[in-house]
Amino acid sequence: MGLIEEIDRGFRYILQVLPDSLITGITVLAILLGNQTLFALAGSSLIMQALVTGIGYIIIKFNPDSVVTRIAEEPCAAGFINNYWARVRGGLANVDHPYAPSLYLATVAFFAGWGAGLKQLYAEEIDQGVISNSQTTGFLITAFIILAAVMILRIFVSNCETLVGAFVGVATGTLLGYVFSVSLGFATDRKATNIWGMPLLRDRIAAGSPIYTCQKDV
């Protein structure tokens, strides 16, 4: 078996299982690292998947032609957990997926949207140089380039998505990621989203606390 063939197969497989891998990986890492922000991220991504699936089924109700029936093992099924759930739901050949929004792309876009939300939530601390501002901007641009690349591959190389389904999926996922991240941040005083564990600036004037504590005269 040629090296190129193996790399190609590996790349395609990794791309296929990306959404399931990420959600499983985040959950396992949340336990291994004892990290509450990862639990929040895993929970939010599961809620997002349920919402996107719900939106898809509402679209199916009004437009039954938008259903795609797939065999779960084929390259378009989004990962190993989905394959097993498909079997629970009645067999490998009985997996109905709405054309739009694409659950796969919504999941990938969700994390890019979450990253964009974090950049806004911690803008003051980033401005103070806790982490580099240019680095956060660079990473955010890279995240959306990767998202665009994944979208192109899913539409044009593996032919798993329609153009409309892909765009609606990316828009829904990004929006939900951003909204979930910012709302959870505000609701928990930015504690449940502080993935970097950075020290937070507090508005001590509004809280009525002294701004600076100085040493008393001896």
Partner: protein, 245 residues
């Protein structure tokens, strides 16, 4: 066990178990970029180098040595059936020595354990006193502020470290035993894989953690221990006891 329980508990868990090294690698690299988390990206890049190294070593062994060497089955790839059921990428060539699965898990095991130990043992944070140069005797120099070893912050940090050490030890034990028992691995392959992986994890973590650099901190604790990372305009306290911004 049959029906839905079988599908849920046997198929799903065996799927997660089989692909867990790949899952952890993807999560570290992908989320490192998406969420701008440099420590995760560094840990993920480290494991990519381990994967390339182990696959290269497997290829070298299969090219240079006969399939059976000194009576041991060290070189050569497994059957197509083994590639389908044991390989991290179904269908790709699968070799038992050194075990790629155990190399990756050994890497994460040592990397997470070392960092958890580091944040557990780290001494309480101390904020340095403000000592402006060239301000003369009118400026009172603040004393360094030390955090009590019993403060809530220190207890929380030590709890995260301890919890992580316990979780890693239990979870990796639970995960590695079934993999060992499913006939995909050989004893020599497991030992070699674990050695390569854990030594790489130790080496990369130690290199990144030089001078207690926060780039090694995959737990996301160290930045919060150092308020000095917030660069704000300092304030001087004058001898009369008042404050001047």
């Amino acid at each position: 066990m049959s029906g839905i329980p079988s599908i849920l508990f046997v198929d799903t868990l065996s799927g997660i178990l089989r692909f867990l090294p790949l899952t952890l690698t993807l999560t570290f690299v992908f989320l490192g970029i998406m969420l701008n988390n440099m420590p995760w990206l560094i840990a993920g890049s480290g494991v990519l180098s381990v994967i390339v190294g182990v696959l290269g070593f497997q290829w070298l062994l299969s090219s240079l040595l006969p399939t059976t060497f000194l009576g041991l089955n060290l070189a050569g790839y497994g059957s197509p059936a083994m590639s389908l059921t044991c390989s991290l990428i179904p269908g790709n060539s699968y070799a038992q020595f050194p075990s790629l699965w155990f190399a990756i898990m050994g890497y994460f095991f040592s990397y997470i354990l070392l960092n958890a130990g580091s944040i557990y043992n780290r001494s309480p944070a101390a904020a340095p006193g403000y000592s402006p140069a060239g301000q003369g005797r009118n400026v009172l120099v603040g004393k360094p502020v030390s955090v009590s070893a019993n403060s809530i912050g220190v207890v929380q940090r030590r709890s995260v470290g301890l919890l992580s050490i316990i979780a890693v030890s239990i979870l990796f034990g639970i995960i590695m035993i079934p993999r060992f028992m499913n006939h995909c691995e050989s004893i020599l392959g497991i030992l070699a894989g674990l050695t390569i992986g854990s030594l790489s994890g130790w080496g990369i973590w130690t290199g990144v953690n030089s001078n207690q650099n926060p780039l090694a901190d995959i737990h996301g604790v160290v930045l919060g221990l150092s308020p000095g990372y917030l660069r704000h305009t300092p304030i001087a306290c004058v001898p009369t006891g008042g404050t001047t911004p």
